[in-house]
């Protein structure tokens, strides 16, 4: 880059994908997307598929209301959520510990490396089936499945974070005799935090799906169990209703909890969050 501030780079005038498009156009395109999806669904259910194969959005919404009214919602949804959070919490704690270990020691990198690769590439179905099989109807099934599938995502990202700790910044802080607590708070944690955050995001995305899947194969309660029940009686309305409860829940957590944290705490990161 020339020291010449006045001259833009030679070549084409097109700019990179502009992530700073004004908020209004982002919001508008978001509304358009959901509208398109909804209309598409309605069109498909009206003109292409019979209602028992693809019920219209309204029918599904009605079913959802019925489920809530009947009290079934609370029983099963809460069951799933509890298992989800227990399993995910354990996965995060274990994953972080292993990730740190891997980041600091070649021994642990070798020890866990293959396992991480295997669990990242093996389909969740396999874990769901085995856990459902081994633990039967107990809530341990989904919880262990979450730990097995979600933990590697947490581990990998925490590992990345540990490797990315800015050694030169830490050395600088030591030279200026910054106390360890301040070093932890102002150097280490901000450096690792984004990776921790990504870890939680990816881990969570896997966790809720595997919970439902494991429940589907081996549970007597929960959203997954309900989906299976509805599927067995060929009620697409029921299947979609329960699925939507879960998907909407996931989107809410994603968008309103996680993204909000991201926006507030990571303002200093100019790079885009994928």
């Amino acid at each position: 880059m020339s020291a010449d501030a006045a001259s833009p780079p030679i070549g084409r005038g097109t700019t990179k994908s502009d992530l700073a498009t004004p908020r209004s156009s982002h919001r508008l395109s978001r509304v358009v997307v959901y509208a398109v999806l909804l209309l598409g669904w309605q069109a498909l259910s009206t003109f292409v598929f019979p209602p028992y194969v693809l019920p219209s959005p309204l029918l599904v919404l009605q079913e959802m209301a019925d489920i809530v009214a009947s009290g079934l919602f609370w029983k099963h949804f809460l069951t799933t959520i509890i298992r989800l959070f227990i399993g995910f919490a354990i996965a995060c704690v274990l994953g972080t510990a292993i990730g740190i270990a891997m980041g600091r020691s070649e021994y642990w990198r070798e020890f866990f490396g293959d396992y991480i690769m295997l669990t990242l590439t093996t389909p969740g179905l396999v874990f769901a089936l085995i856990c459902a099989m081994v633990f039967g109807l107990s809530p341990l099934g989904p919880i262990v499945a979450i730990i097995l599938t979600s933990m590697p995502h947490v581990t990998v990202n925490v590992h990345e974070g540990v490797r990315a700790i800015p050694r030169d910044l830490l050395d600088m802080a030591k030279v200026y005799e910054v106390p360890p607590a301040a070093r932890l708070r102002h150097v280490l944690i901000p450096a690792v935090a984004p990776y921790l955050f990504t870890a939680v995001r990816y881990g969570f995305a896997i966790a809720w799906k595997i919970t439902a899947l494991t429940e589907l194969f081996g549970s007597a309660a929960g959203v997954g169990f309900q989906i299976r029940t509805e599927y067995l009686v060929f009620s697409m309305r029921g299947v979609l209703a329960w699925a939507l409860f879960l998907v909407v829940f996931a989107i809410i957590i994603e968008r309103f909890v996680l993204m909000r944290i991201e926006r507030d705490f990571f303002r200093w990161r100019r790079q885009a969050f994928a």
Partner: protein, 278 residues
């Protein structure tokens, strides 16, 4: 003097064997060994209908290998994966290109892609079983749906990443368009295309086996679920091992070797990491 500079791996005076066992090279073997031992200890407590003993699994490997279904099952699945992935690349790559060059297209597609990445494959599997019954179409469609967002995102990333500096350089030397495309743009895109392939394949595979449970009567996913339905616990574990082996083969042979060849021009980075998150 020199001995004090070397960090000891094992306590002073320990035998060579201990040092070998605690070395990183041994770590790779220690892990599966520990799992095997734990498995052997735990299995009798749970009962072999729920968790087979290791020896039962070994037996079942032989049984299933001889019987032959397992081979054709994986073959069928791989065929569906190939078709679905091929379609995903065909459709996803040009779309990803479009997203990379047009910020408006990207803003529009962004939420679709997020939904595509979030929507559980389970539901897709059930939906396509309703729409297409049992067969190849449903699973192939799910592969497509699972892989396409990853292909698009990675291709778009690659397009955005083409070095402005290098393009300017080529332009200042009046290099012809076809040459720029062939020697500059395409090689610049190749790592991203590689990532598109890799994540498209990984996720397509995951979606596929799940779809096969609901929307097919053949294939690895259908078989492993079937094993569980008839209570053949050892069979489930054998299939799981085959899945694991498949993963290792693909990761090591295909992506390991391919990656080494595609990126042979890269300067060696100290402490390069291994398999990364999806």
């Amino acid at each position: 003097m020199y001995s004090t500079l070397r960090a000891p791996r094992a306590p002073a005076g320990s035998s060579g064997l201990v040092r070998l066992l605690t070395s990183p090279r041994a770590a790779r073997l220690t892990a599966p060994l520990l799992i095997l031992v734990a498995w052997q200890l735990v299995a009798p407590l749970i009962g072999s209908r729920l968790l087979p003993m290791p020896i039962e699994v070994v037996e079942e490997v032989g049984v299933l290998a001889l019987e032959g279904t397992i081979w054709s099952a994986f073959g069928t699945s791989l065929m569906r994966l190939a078709v679905g992935l091929g379609l995903a690349l065909l459709v996803g790559a040009p779309l990803g290109l479009l997203l990379g060059v047009s910020s408006r297209a990207e803003a529009f597609a962004h939420d679709f892609i997020v939904i595509g990445l979030t929507f559980p494959y389970l539901i897709w599997g059930i939906l396509v079983s309703m729409w297409f019954g049992f067969g190849d179409v449903g699973p192939i469609l799910v592969v497509f749906i699972a892989a396409v967002p990853y292909v698009m995102v990675n291709t778009a990333e690659g397009v955005r990443d083409v070095s402005r500096d290098l393009l300017d350089m080529a332009r200042s030397y009046n290099v012809s368009r076809p040459h720029v495309l062939r020697h500059l743009v395409i090689p610049s895109l190749s790592p991203f295309f590689f990532a598109a392939l890799r994540y498209g394949l990984a996720n397509g595979w995951k979606g596929l086996v799940l779809a096969e449970v609901f929307a097919a009567t053949s294939g690895a996913g259908w078989e492993i679920a079937g094993m569980r339905d008839i209570g053949n616990a050892a069979g489930v574990v054998v299939y799981a091992l085959y899945f694991a082996t498949f993963s290792i083969l693909v990761e090591r042979l295909v992506f390991g070797r391919l990656s080494a060849w595609v990126f042979r021009w890269r300067p060696r980075q100290p402490g390069a990491a291994r398999a990364t998150a999806s």
